[in-house]
Structures are given as C-alpha cells and as structure tokens.
C-alpha cells in the first residue's frame, strides 16, 4: 500500500465519498427515490442530483484554484451550498 502514497486530505476525501455512497444506498433502501423534475432541464433521481452536484463541485474547485487566488475553503463552502440546493430543488 505504501506505493499509493496516501495523505490525510485525500484519505478524508475518499472516505467522505464512500460515506456518501453508503448513505445514499441506505436512504434508497428505506425510501426509494422517485424521479422528478426540478429546476434542472431533465428529470432526475436523488442519485443523479448527487452526481451532478459532485461534478459541478469539482469544476467549481478547479475554477477557484486555477483562475482566482481565493481560498479553497470558499470553493468548498460554495460547493456544499450548491449541492444542498440541487438535492432539495434540482
């Protein structure tokens, strides 16, 4: 495993992704998601919205890192808010 050169931040990152997937699975088993149409142009399920949210979060981070000198925490906060908005009204 040493060749994978783990660091604490990346370990936290992957653990939270795994936790999200596990959480979504349990949620889905408890109450199956119904496809619905929110403000996004396509109708989505819960999982779709999570995926869209995570992907836009990645691009928000890249934009902050590459083209501004703002702190990455601002990007993180912004992504979290966006993810919540998307999950609720997307």
């Amino acid at each position: 495993m040493s060749w994978m050169v783990w660091t604490l931040p990346t370990a936290i990152f992957f653990s939270s992704i795994a936790a999200m997937l596990a959480g979504m699975t349990i949620w889905e088993l408890r109450s199956p998601s119904i496809e619905r149409k929110g403000f996004l142009p396509i109708s989505t399920t819960r999982g779709d919205r999570l995926f869209i949210g995570l992907m836009s979060a990645a691009f928000i981070h890249l934009g902050f890192i590459g083209f501004t000198s703002l702190s990455i925490w601002i990007a993180l906060a912004l992504s979290a808010v966006w993810l919540l908005v998307l999950m609720r009204w997307g």
């Binding site: 060749w3 050169v5 990346t10 992907m55 691009f59 890249l62």
Partner: protein
C-alpha cells in the same frame, strides 16, 4: 425493456465484474489523486503540495495550446468522418458475397495495432520509399511532414480518416440494415425522391447509431497517442503534440508524477463531463422513443 423486475440480488451477478473493474479502475484512480497533491520524489520521499500542481497545470501555456489543438483536431475529424461514414454506408452493397467482401475490407484498418498504423503511414508518406510522399514529390508538390506543420496536420487527419471512418461507416451500415424493407416499398409507391427517403426514413433510424459514433469518435480522438507519436513524434516543433502525448511525455519522459497526475485528473473530469452529457442525451432519446410507443 420496460418490464424489468426490481431485485437487489442482481448485485450478486454484477459483483465479480465489479471487483475486476474496480481493481483496474478505482485503485489507480485513487493513486492518481494521491500523487496530484504531492511532490513524489521516490517510494518514501514525498512532500505535500496541496493544490499547487493544479494551479500550475491550469495555467500552463504549453498544455493550453495542446488542449486547443486537441479540440481542433477532434472537431475536424468529426466533421469529415461522420458525413463520409454515412455516405459510405449508403453505397455499401446489402447482401451477397460482395457485402461480405466489402465488410471485411472496410474493417481492416480497425484491426491493425495503433502503432503499426503510425508505421504504415510513416512509410507511405516518406519522400524516398513511400508511395504517397514519392508521388506528391513527382507531381512537383513540396511535401514534407517533418518540416512543414501544415503537411504534418494534413497527414495526421488523413491517417485518422483512413483509420476510423470505417467504424462510423459500419455503425451507420448496421443502422441502415435494421430498416424494414416495407418502408422502402412504401416510399417507392409514394414515388419519394432519394433525398426524401434519406431525410425521412434513413436519417431518423441513424440518429441512435450516430450518437454512438460521435461519442466513440470524440473520445477516441481525445485519446489519440500512438499514431501521431510514431508518424510525426508530435513535430515539427510541437505543432502536432496532442493532449495524451503531452501527458505521456510528462509522466514517463520526465517522471513528474505530481503535475502529470494533476493534469490527468483535469483531463478525466473533462472527459467525464462530456461522456455524461452524451450518455444523458442517448438515454433521453431512447426514453422519448419508448414513450411514443415506437421501436
């Protein structure tokens, strides 16, 4: 297709596949993410650099240029291969031994290892021993792919058209074959013109396969590496250095693990976004069709 049973035990059937693909996909992907935030000097010597590599890569002018070239290349070959592929599919014989012979001949370029394709074209376009290079020289055209960037570009595009148009043609051909003969008969009774047959019978049937063709061609052209590497080596200068080659040079040639990993992730995110858009489009096309009670 619509009457699938809900059964979570299906996961058991998927599990062996999942283990194998995860071994090949997830472990390396995690490693790439780990590399991207560190300066990896050796097995036990690495320093945390945070987001530094991402910043460097996003602002690297050589990479931006390679990205621009890549987009241009992909658009050019799509603009040539898609219409050409449709055209070839329309004129391919539909049955008999001729159909088999044409099928086998047309699939040939797809079955050649990619670096051999590069070698074939490198030989073919050489001024001294290649038929095309020699022929153009005899015609008085000053053609040199190692000196002239325009010639190198034209040759790479020609090579890619030679190599991959068969895939588009085969996809379209299979789409055309699925049109029932009754449709054509109806069109004959209506005395529909050829254009009308194409526009209202053939093209609608081709939409599905064309989306697949565009998707596959776009993705493969983004990965193009071996053919231009063998043919031009990215030259003259860096005029034909595409994304994957920049990446391979950085990762293997210069052993810059951190930056190349950061670059890989950016590259992967772009690919992910594009494939997601295409995939959603395909799925919605199919859903619309089903809801109309069609095929």
């Amino acid at each position: 297709m619509n009457n699938k049973v809900y059964n979570n035990r299906a996961w058991l059937l998927v599990l062996p596949m999942l283990v194998l693909v995860a071994f090949s996909a997830i472990i390396p992907l995690m490693t790439v993410v780990n590399y991207s935030v560190q300066d990896v000097l050796g097995p036990n010597a690495s320093f945390f650099t945070g987001t530094e590599w991402f910043r460097t890569m996003l602002n690297d002018s050589a990479l931006q240029a390679a990205f621009g070239r890549q987009i241009m290349f992909s658009l050019i070959i799509l603009a040539i291969q898609i219409p050409l592929g449709i055209g070839i599919a329309l004129i391919m014989p539909k049955q008999g031994w001729q159909a088999s012979a044409v099928l086998i001949l047309i699939t040939l370029p797809l079955l050649i290892p990619w670096n051999v394709v590069g070698s074939i074209w490198q030989i073919f376009t050489r001024g001294d021993i290649g038929l095309m290079g020699w022929g153009l020289r005899e015609l008085g055209i000053n053609y040199n792919i190692t000196r002239n960037a325009g010639d190198a570009w034209a040759t790479i595009i020609l090579m890619d058209v030679w190599h991959w148009t068969p895939l588009v043609a085969m996809l379209c051909y299979s789409g055309l074959r699925s049109i029932p003969e009754a449709y054509y008969q109806a069109a004959r009774i209506d005395r529909a013109s050829k254009w009308a047959v194409f526009r209202y019978i053939q093209l609608p049937k081709l939409t599905n396969v064309l989306v697949i063709a565009v998707l596959l061609r776009f993705m493969h052209s983004f990965m193009i590496y071996a053919e231009p590497f063998v043919l031009t080596g990215g030259g003259p200068g860096s005029s034909t250095t595409f994304l994957t080659q920049s990446l391979a040079t950085m990762a293997i040639g210069q052993q810059d693990l951190g930056p190349s990993a950061a670059f890989s992730i950016i590259y992967f995110l772009v690919i992910l976004l594009v494939s997601w858009v295409f995939y959603t489009t395909i799925m919605h096309l199919q859903k619309d069709k089903n809801s109309q009670g069609g095929v």
